[in-house]
Structure formats: structure tokens, C-alpha cells
Subunit: 335 residues, 3 copies
């Protein structure tokens, strides 16, 4: 979509330095920029490269005075205190998918489902009994939304996603292809007489709040008796596993292939690297950061906003690095 810099500056709340009638249609890296591109620089030292690129215009910070004087500056500049954020927002304004929004004739939507305005449902998708889907939501081809699930407005459920019955989802939730939401958790009771396992009841719910985003082929189990909850704004990467009864806080970030056993609590604003493993009933308190591949034992509580933890079992990274250094040194000495 084409927009003038005047229009963008207004929508993004930026001061514009340069020609307001210049048009851009996309965002780009310096390398792939064309004369319709908008690029951004976070660090003043990259401004020269941005100006040397083919881009039409640049998003940048207010750099030291005089830098944007007409003589020096070959392209229009959108001035932002957070250029990367402004760039992200510009992308959303420019790259909105157009396409018509229809319910494909091969989608199976149960007569009892309540479908909002301007909802798009892809070919071969299946929407079960009493499902609710909010306005402007998109359901991809082949996705299956089982009975009694409720999906908010402006959500995007991609192709081949499975949403189990009764799952509830807020607004602006994004679920990428192949993810499975609301599956039964891994809970068994062993019969002492026979040694065989029988499933514990897995009849709770999965609640996903507004603005959560979930990556491709991730799996999130429903609660066993009560609920699993992913709170507002949490971002979950591909192939992450979240077990039954977990509570994921607001604005938590979980990188790819991390796994949480049952009944884990992750408080708000925690940041987790990839391939982290967390034992059941552990709790990670607000603002902690977990390095990639670290492991947390069952029932453990990790505390410390801004503290980075690493290793298995996870400890503050400074401590862990000392251990690694000691080991490396000693092994060399003791050959």
C-alpha cells in the first residue's frame, strides 16, 4: 500500500524532515531497498549507509543538531525516539494484506457457530458447534476449531492449526501454522496392582489473553481440572511446549523449543531463551531472564528482576561463568 511521508508521519507521531509528498510502499533492509522503501537506523553511525541505499526515506533518531540540515541530508527523515518501533509500526501500515475477506465455500462452519463481521475462513477449515469468532478475524486453510472454542476479534489463526474444544482466546491473538492449542496434558496415575498407567482427567480449559502470539507447531495443553492461562501480550516461539496448568505472565517472551512441564508459573516480563526446560511446579519470578538451554528443577523458585540465569540447574549467570572458568582452567592444569 502506498502512503505519503506526510500521512505516515501523522499516523506514527513523527516529525518529518524533508519532502512530505514522497511516497513509500514497503519497509526494507538497506540491501534490498528500492525507491519505494522506508528503512531505519537505530545507531547514528549507520545513517550514512541508509542515505547511500536506494531507499526513499529513513526513520532515525534526532541526532546531534545540524545533522539533518538540507545540505547534508539526501533523503527525507522521519524522526522517532524509537526508530525500530516506528519502523515496525510503519510496516503494519504499509503491508496490510489486501485480499477479499470471505468464508471459503469448502470451509465447514457449523450452523450453531457465531461468526463476527468481516471474518475470513480458508478452504477446508472446520469450525465446530457453538464456536464464536470475533470481527475481522482470519482462520487459515485446513485449521480446525473444535466445539465451544471462543476466538476474539482481529485474530489470525493460520493454516492447519488445531484448537481443541472450549479454548478461549482474546483479541489480536496470532497463532501460526500447525500449532495445537488446548490438547490434553501429560498426567497419568499408575495402578499399583498392574503397573499400568491411566490418564488423569484433563478436562480443564486453555485461556489465551489479548495480544498473545504463538509460533508454528507450538503446543499448549489445557488445564487438568482448572486452567492453563497465557496472559496478555506474551510471545511464544515455534515448537515451544507448555504443559497443563501453567500460568504465563504478561509480556513474557519464550524462544523456540523451550518446554514447560505442568503447573509452572512464569511471572510478568520474564524473558526465556530457546530450549530452556522447566520442571513441574517451578516458578520464575517477574523480570528474570533465562539463558538458552538452561534447566530449572521441579518446584524451584527463581527470583530476581533483571537477573540472568544459566546452566542446569540454573543459577545466576555470573556464578555459572565462574564455575565454567574454574573448570576450564583446572582441566588445563591437571593434564
Amino acid at each position: 500500500m502506498n502512503r505519503t511521508l506526510r500521512d505516515l508521519a501523522e499516523r506514527l507521531g513523527c516529525h518529518l524532515f524533508g519532502d512530505p509528498n514522497v511516497c513509500v510502499s514497503t519497509v526494507s533492509s538497506f540491501q534490498s531497498a528500492t525507491k519505494e522503501s522506508l528503512v531505519f537506523v537505530e545507531d547514528p553511525e549507520h545513517l550514512g549507509a541508509a542515505l547511500a541505499s536506494a531507499a526513499a526515506a529513513v526513520i532515525a533518531k534526532e541526532f546531534p543538531s545540524g545533522q539533518y540540515s538540507l545540505g547534508k541530508c539526501s533523503k527525507p527523515i522521519l524522526i522517532s525516539a524509537q526508530p525500530r518501533l516506528t519502523f515496525a509500526r510503519a510496516a503494519r501500515l504499509l503491508c496490510e494484506p489486501a485480499g477479499e475477506r470471505v468464508i471459503h465455500s469448502t470451509a465447514i462452519v457449523h450452523a450453531s457457530a457465531i461468526i463476527g463481521k468481516n471474518v475470513a475462513i480458508g478452504a477446508q477449515a472446520v469450525v465446530g458447534e457453538r464456536v464464536r469468532i470475533g470481527d475481522e478475524t482470519t482462520v487459515g486453510a485446513g485449521a480446525v476449531i473444535d466445539d465451544d472454542a471462543a476466538i476474539g476479534a482481529h485474530c489470525r489463526i493460520d493454516a492447519n492449526v488445531t484448537i481443541y474444544e472450549g479454548t478461549r482466546m482474546g483479541d489480536r491473538v496470532v497463532v501460526q501454522a500447525g500449532a495445537v492449542l488446548g490438547s490434553e496434558g501429560f498426567g497419568y496415575v499408575r495402578d499399583a496392582a498392574t503397573g499400568r498407567y491411566e490418564q488423569s482427567p484433563q478436562i480443564g480449559r486453555l485461556i489465551i489473553e489479548d495480544d498473545v502470539e504463538i509460533g508454528a507447531n507450538a503446543t499448549i495443553d489445557r488445564g487438568a481440572l482448572d486452567e492453563t492461562r497465557i496472559k496478555r501480550g506474551a510471545k511464544i516461539d515455534n515448537l515451544v511446549h507448555i504443559g497443563h496448568n501453567c500460568q504465563i505472565g504478561e509480556n513474557v517472551v519464550i524462544a523456540a523449543q523451550t518446554g514447560l512441564s505442568g503447573s509452572v508459573t512464569i511471572e510478568d516480563n520474564v524473558i526465556m531463551g530457546g530450549q530452556v526446560g522447566i520442571g513441574d511446579h517451578a516458578r520464575v519470578e517477574s523480570g528474570a531472564m533465562l539463558g538458552g538451554q538452561c534447566g530449572i528443577l521441579p518446584k524451584k523458585v527463581l527470583r530476581g528482576s533483571g537477573v540472568v540465569f544459566w546452566g542446569t540447574p540454573a543459577k545466576p549467570v555470573k556464578e555459572y561463568l565462574k564455575e565454567l572458568a574454574f573448570l576450564s582452567r583446572s582441566a588445563k592444569k591437571n593434564r
Copy 2:
């Protein structure tokens, strides 16, 4: 489904203390219990909380004499030597899905498939040539069951599952959404002349015995030339990977995101934590327990019923904890 306590006590083989005409319709936690709920207590000290909940009745052990005397006990008690197990079985009696069992008009079932009695097949599912599906089995929406696969009775194949051709499955097998069964294993031969890889034949079978349960988005490869086998009662969590030619014993439990390379043998009753990694041709002998994230080298044999192994490479946990303690102590001293 509503049942009287009399009916439940009879089906579950429990002694009932209290009014046999009380009805329950579901199982619950104490917190979410309503006046139609059945709850359970494993530990006598929680009995007070159970009795204080809104539940209609409680499953509990035979506690020291007199405790259930009319004067003390405000709710009916179902007495069981294994309350958690009885609770699980009660849940199955109460929470049986009702719904009609039909083959959806959009399911594609090949004319040569042999479909048992009372089979349900969801919308958009695909059932290939010569597939056999046993009585009372449910196939979810969008599931794909390829040619010559055989599925037993009372199985549940959830939405968007893929079952490759020729896979054979016993009775009462549960496969959650997105799992892939019978895919080709990861075996290549490098051409010494060109340095390029060519696939080794992956033409074997996958056999899944009775009562196996498989989690969402798990993957299990077929045998290369012969078979991969998952024996009776094994329970496999979400996102687990099992390579070609593996043999998984009876009542083995494998937690989420664990991965087994090719030709691994896991003997009966082994319990594996999450994110465990096992190299090809390794063998874990009967009754061993593997802690989360531990790693086992190719060809390694782990022995010891009841022994817990941890770390990479995995060793008995006592030994490993001593190493961790030594390291922690030494690093502190040697600053």
C-alpha cells in the same frame, strides 16, 4: 453425565460411606468444585479442605478408624486404596463424550477402506486405500490416514494428525492433534565421489501396540528396513521425536520434547523426563529413570532399575550431584 454415588461405587469397586443417592456429574479440583463435583484427597491432611469445598462427594483412603463417623463427615466418601486412580476412572465414567458418532459428509474415505462399527470421522479427514479402522474409533477433522494403515478399536486420532501408509496400531490408542506417525527416518549415505547425501531406504513399518498414547505434534519415524515399535501402554508427550528402528518398551513414559535417534531401545517401565536426548543404538534398561535434559551417547547402555540418571553424558544422579557440588564449592574458593 449424571451418576449416583451408588452407581459409581459399584463400577469403581469402592466402599461408600454416606448417602448413595447423591448425584455427581463431573470431577473437579477443590477450587472449582460445584455441588455436582466429585473431588479426591490422596493425603489425609487435605480431607478437611475437601469437606470444606463445594463438592458433592470425596474419594479418599480408608483413614484411621472413626474419621468418617457420621458426626465428623459432612459429605459422602468413596473409599479407595488408590484415590487418584479411582478419581481418574470416575472421570472417565462421568465425562464420556456424548455427541453422535457419524462419518462427516466431507470426509474422504476410500471405497476399499474397511471401517468398523460406530466409527466417527471428522470433517475434511482423509482415509486412504485399504485402511482398516476398528469399532468405536474416532478420527478427527483434517486427519490424514494413508493407504494400508490399520487402526484398532476404541482409538482416538485427533485433528490434523498424519498417519503414513502401512502404520499399524492396536486398540485404545490415543494420538493428539498434529502428531505424525510413520514418517521416513533420517538416514543418508554420502557419495564419496560428490560429497552429496542420498537417502537410505526408509521402507519399514511403524507398529503401535494397545493403550499407547501420543502427544500433540510428536513425530515417530517408521523403520528403515524393518520396524519401529512402541509397545503396550507407553505414554509419549508432546513434541517428542522417536527415530527409525527404535523399540519402546511397555509402560514407558517419555516427557515432552525428548528425542531418540535411530535404533534406540528403551526397555519396559523406563521413565524419561523432558528434553532428554539419546544417541543412536543406545539402550536404556528396564526401570531406569532419566532426568530432564540428560543426554546419552550413541551405543551407550544404561542399567539399573530404579536408578535415576542425569547430566550429559548421563550418570547416576548421586554421582552427578557430587560433581555439581564440587564444582560450585571449588569455583567459590578459587576466585
Copy 3:
């Protein structure tokens, strides 16, 4: 498919010792061989077992002179310098799927898609606008290929795969069931004012070159602004995750459940074990080998063709094994 040994010897470029009119129809292990099977031996000491099996013929190296003399050798031998490779190629000649190649009547193929000759598309598959599919390619049941994707010739896209819009794929690419290609990467900008995350643009492409093979339920993200690229001949196992902007070299091998963060470069001929984790912007140089579960920090460069790395953070395996040995020894002494 039945073939005479004469035919096979000619197609495989092997010298044949024995009756050229013998027919075989499949490849087998010694154990499962029948009188229509071809087996192979890599190591001369297994020749006796091969000859003792039920197989019709054997692929073997040119062993010391006289060994294949009529008196000693009970079965025809196909002589190859690389018996395992020849066996793999024989399997492809013998086990070609026959079946008719049709576009199933329930597949939804957009009128603007350009479909090559002899393409097979399974039931309930969805092929979007302007998609191109090359000759002889197979698309499985329930697969979803979104708008503007381009797939080469002789590819195999299995059931329930999702290919996001604009993904481009060369020839002879294999994608197993449930894999997701071209999903949006995990990139967010945090708004300093609100503490909430907003998605960075994920509008780049995914390019997959010729002869790449991708396992079940693997996920590969598109580039953020530019491209993610999987180069010719790379082999990727089940449940692997590859983040946005990664560059995977030619003939790279990545075992199951390994995860690559964004902007990782893996140069040609690298071999990676399972459950390896690599931080963003790291680079693994040509020919390195990474042991299972090892971890590489962001921005790290690993160098050394033929060097094996292990541990987290990964170091040359010899060095790492010394550390493990020191630790084990010391912990025993210091009880």
C-alpha cells in the same frame, strides 16, 4: 517393481557376478529378506550372513580375490565400491511408488495456479493464487500451499504441510508431514513507554534450493526483511527449528530437535547432532561437527573443518572431555 539383476547392474554401474536373470523386487535387511530381496554388506565379515539369508542377491565390495568364485558363492553379487550407496539407489529403482497421479476432486487449486505435468495433489489440499508447481511433484492430502509460493519439479510435499506465501523451492525437495515453511520469525520491539512488544516486520522470503529434505513437524521461518535460505542438498530432521534470516549451507546435515535462532550462518558440509541450540548471529564454519545437545552462544564463530565441538558453550570435544574427566576425578577425591 520387479527388475532383473542385469537391469539393475546396468543402471547402478555395477559389475555382476552370478546369474543376470535373477529378479528382485525390494531391498531388505538380512532378517526380513525373502527370495525377492536384495541385501548389502559393507564389511566383508558380514558376507557369510548375507549369503545365509533368504535374499536373492547381495550388493558387496570387491573383496580379496577368489572370494566370489563359483564354488564359494551361493548368491549373485552386485559389486560396488560403495555398497550402502548402491543399496540406497537400488531401493529407489525398486520401490518407486506406482499409483496413478491425479489431482483429487476435493483439492482446491486456485484458477491462477500454474500446475506442471503429471502433478499429483491429494484430497483436501489447498493451492493458493499464482502458486507454481513443477512437473512430477506430489502434494499430500491436507497440505496448504499459500499464494505466490513456487515449488519445483519432482518434489514431494507430504500431508498436512503448510507452506506460507511466497516461499520458493527448487527441484527434488522433500517435505514431510506437518512441517511449516515460511512462517513469521520471532522478532519483536519493546515499546519503552508501555513495556509491550510489537512485532518487527517479518516480510522476507524463504528460499529452499534443490535436493533439500525436511523432516516432519520441522519449522523454518521466512526472512525478516530479506531471506532465509536453505542451500542445495541440506538435510533437516524432524522438529528442527530454523529462525529468520538463517543461511544453511550445501550438504549440511541437521539432526532432530536442533534449533537455530535468527541470522545464524551454517556453512557447507557442517554436521549437527540432535537438540543442538545456536544463538543468533552465530556462524559455524565449513565442515565442523556439532555433538548432540551442544550450545553455541550468540555471535560466536566456530571454526575447524573436521573438528568436533561439544558442550555448552561448545568447545573442541577433546578439550571438553578433559574437563569432564577432571570433574569426575576431582569429585571422587573430594568427598
